[in-house]
């Protein structure tokens, strides 16, 4: 993309955020005082949007559900259930009824709130898209909306709906297929995963070509053609998991279209994509434009940093000392890999930013950041040291109940702004970016050739890798990241490389599933000492349970095996 185009994009992005502001203002506006007594009602033609501005603002409502992608249950389902992330129970912090330990131990149950959260994320998005499609169609039928205008919006909504259905079948497998707002069944039955996949892919293959190909401020943060193609590529890449029938050639073709024709470029600096000012980088295909004022909710700063880190970054509020990465995952990065970042030492703070915050921490004035509440038996003492770096101790002593307050290397991928609000960051969150698409194509090629030295696949992998590390891969096979002393695994090094590049970007669970490794949880699980905690292995854990409350409300839903 030309620099001038990106400048134009940046200038116009305030408009995107302003749209979000309008939506939020509408949602939170309480200044209305028409006192006519009216009962809440279902959607009727009388309360459809009647003006064009209402139509456009309504379209924005379809995107609000994406706000949970970078912080809520989708993140827990896709990341905390894997070998890349964990939330230890630090005494009485982060106990939460054992929720976080169950994520790590794969011991989730049909009563865990996260299952409801994932379901609500998916079907909330599906329902909003269905409702808006229905309303637009009625307006067209009434002659009050231009059919061409409606067709463009409806194609966009179908792509959005496809995204949410992708997540639903990925997490829950068989789910109801609801595509019509007005004529939805009262208690629809679960539909086989393969059938839902087939319907969603067919719908996307029809809708995506109708989406705009422009990459500028008008399509940033929206489902344009390239975002739709990347969505399809993801579905194809996982088709074998979802249906038993691979579609790697289709995945390769979709990725090739995006890579060759989308006009995207890898940024020279990996971290440009995660900076506080990362809006509109040349690598962004589909992003959530989080913003402290207009679109809050991205809060990895709060979730990962220690309480005392408030003074490292002069944050406006105290972080919560929760999420961190696992030792084996961190160690799967070579020390020369720029994505790993520096380690703070007793002599001074880390200099180079990385995906992680490791080692000794310092206040913004250069003085040591101390944890006055440090556990008395923590060998690190009060000088804050993430991951016990340099001590020879494990980076995380245990999952619970007494993980040290300083235990664990933290997530530093997204820039923490000095003076920022840890609960509402300004960084945009890439749902799809070019680096991911290149690696998807490499995987699709490798899975078709089954050749660990597939030259085309290696070229693509090294294209992404080389901006972070000088040593290039010569084979795609190798031990996997959580068992580096173990045997070589087919595609193991490709698996590791995707993990290193896409850390904490809602990818890891699907990777583990495609490699058949998701239920190898015993290989990466931390020592767990809470009474009652159990480690659950088994193929059934590859799918999450449908929450009990959903089953209770609809007896036609069939629970996934192993959760009754």
């Amino acid at each position: 993309m030309k620099t001038t185009d990106r400048n134009k994009m940046r200038k116009s992005l305030f408009l995107v955020k302003a749209i979000v502001l309008v939506m939020l203002a509408a949602a939170f506006n309480q200044s209305c005082t028409n006192l006519d007594e009216e009962l809440y009602g279902e959607v009727t033609p009388d309360n459809f949007f009647n003006t064009e501005e209402e139509i456009l603002a309504a379209l924005g409502a379809a995107y609000t559900q994406f706000g949970n992608w970078g912080s809520g249950d989708p993140w827990n389902l896709n990341c905390v259930s894997t070998d890349e992330m964990v939330v230890p129970t630090r005494g009485q912090d982060w106990d939460d009824g054992g929720d976080w330990r169950r994520w790590h131990l794969h011991a989730w149950t049909r009563e865990d709130g996260g299952m409801n959260g994932g379901w609500n994320f998916g079907f909330g998005g599906v329902n909003t898209a269905n409702r808006l499609i229905y309303q637009f169609e009625v307006l067209v039928d009434e002659g009050s909306m231009d059919p061409d205008v409606a067709a463009a919006f409806i194609a966009e909504l179908r792509a959005i709906r496809g995204f949410f259905y992708w997540q639903l079948i990925d997490w829950f497998g068989n789910v109801p297929l609801v595509t019509d707002f007005a004529n939805a069944e009262a208690q629809p039955a679960t539909v086989p995963r393969a059938d839902v996949y087939a319907w969603v892919v067919a719908d996307l293959e029809e809708a995506v070509p109708l989406l705009p190909k422009e990459v500028d401020g008008t399509t940033y943060g929206r489902m344009n053609y390239w975002a739709g193609k990347t969505l399809l590529a993801n579905l194809y890449l996982n088709a074998e998991v979802y249906t038993g029938v691979p579609a790697y050639a289709a995945a390769e073709a979709a990725c090739t279209d995006v890579i060759d024709n989308g006009g995207f470029n890898l940024t020279g600096n990996y971290f440009d994509n995660f900076s506080a000012g990362n809006t509109g980088t040349s690598e962004m295909i589909f992003a959530i434009p989080y913003d402290q004022v207009y679109y809050g909710g991205f809060n990895v700063t709060a979730r990962t940093l220690h309480y005392s880190s408030q003074y490292t970054y002069n944050l406006t509020a105290q972080p919560w000392n929760g999420f961190c990465t696992l030792e084996e995952f961190y160690n799967s990065y070579d020390d020369t890999d720029l994505r790993k970042g520096d380690v703070g030492t007793v002599d001074g703070p880390a200099i180079k930013r990385g995906n992680f915050i490791a080692g000794y921490q310092y206040n913004v004035d250069g003085t040591p950041a101390n944890d006055d509440g440090a556990d008395s038996n923590d060998p690190d003492g009060i000088h804050l040291n993430f991951g016990s770096m340099g001590s020879g101790e494990p980076q995380i002593n245990e999952l619970g109940p007494q993980a040290y307050r300083q235990a664990g290397i933290r997530i530093g991928k997204w820039e923490f702004e000095l003076g920022g609000d840890p609960g509402a960051m300004n960084n945009d969150y890439a749902v799809f970016r070019l680096g991911d698409v290149i690696l998807m194509k490499a995987e699709a090629l490798w899975r078709q050739s089954n050749n660990p030295t597939d030259a085309a696949a290696l070229l693509l992998v090294n294209d992404v890798r080389s901006r972070a590390i000088n040593t290039l891969l010569t084979t795609l096979d190798g031990p996997v990241s959580f068992d580096m002393a173990g045997p070589s695994v087919a595609g193991g090094e490709l698996f590791n490389e995707i993990g290193r590049e896409m850390f904490a970007e809602n990818h890891r669970r699907r990777q583990l599933v495609r490699w058949g490794l998701f239920d190898a949880v015993a290989s990466w699980a931390l020592p767990y000492n809470n009474p009652g905690d159990v480690l659950v292995e088994g193929e059934h854990t590859v799918l999450f349970p449908i929450h009990r409350d959903k089953i209770d409300a609809n007896p036609n839903l069939v629970q996934n095996p192993g959760y009754n």
Binding site: Q30, E37, Y40, E53, S71, G97, F123, F181
Partner: protein, 195 residues
């Protein structure tokens, strides 16, 4: 680009021009309650306006230890499970707004646990009514209905400095918002009308 500019401007205009006309009943009640000089600071679960951040954390910590509340599912709030209070099992998430280190507003988000697109009885519209009925048991009668052009109806009640507003966010969620009307946080036209 042009259509986006137009969309933004038109949307703001719609909010400003097409917004609701201030109603006399609401204004009268607001004026009367603010003039009463009576403070209603209590919220729920022992929380209240004016609590410091430290007091809030400590109180929530205690409730967390007692397994009354837990980290919210979106990692951004405090979660409390409503098993008996409403017509159907539901979840409420809350996290206050602080001004000068003290609670001045408490937004609370509700959802029926069994929500799905096809369970119409578990719609946000019904949930809002359910929450209003529950709150009438707690905070007393007197909610009035106000209408928003894009978000449907809302219920509001004012007692002294405490305003409670209940409204639907979307197909899933309902918000109840407790606002200390004397805390200087309120910026909408209603408070301006009282000056």
């Amino acid at each position: 680009m042009k259509w986006m500019k137009w969309m933004v401007l038109a949307s703001f205009a719609a909010l400003i021009v097409g917004g609701c006309t201030p109603g006399k009943t609401y204004e009268r009640r607001l004026k009367r309650e603010l003039a009463s000089g009576i403070r209603y600071d209590s919220l729920f679960m022992g929380l209240s306006f004016g609590m410091t951040q430290k007091e809030f954390y400590e109180h929530c910590w205690d409730m967390n230890k007692d397994s009354i509340i837990k980290q919210g599912s979106a990692n951004m709030s405090v979660q409390y499970d409503l098993n008996e209070e409403l017509e159907h099992p539901a979840t409420m998430n809350f996290y206050p707004k602080f001004d000068s280190g003290k609670i001045v507003e408490m937004p609370v988000r509700f959802i029926y646990n069994g929500w799905a697109p096809w369970t119409k009885e578990l719609s946000a519209s019904n949930l809002a009514l359910d929450v209003k009925n529950w709150y009438e048991d707690i905070y007393g009668k007197g909610f009035i209905t106000v209408t928003h052009p894009m978000n449907g109806d809302a219920y509001t009640k004012i007692d002294g400095n405490r305003r409670i507003t209940i409204y639907v966010e979307n197909d899933l969620y309902v918000w109840a918002r407790f606002t200390d009307m004397l805390a200087g946080l309120e910026k909408d036209s209603l408070s301006a009308n009282q000056n």
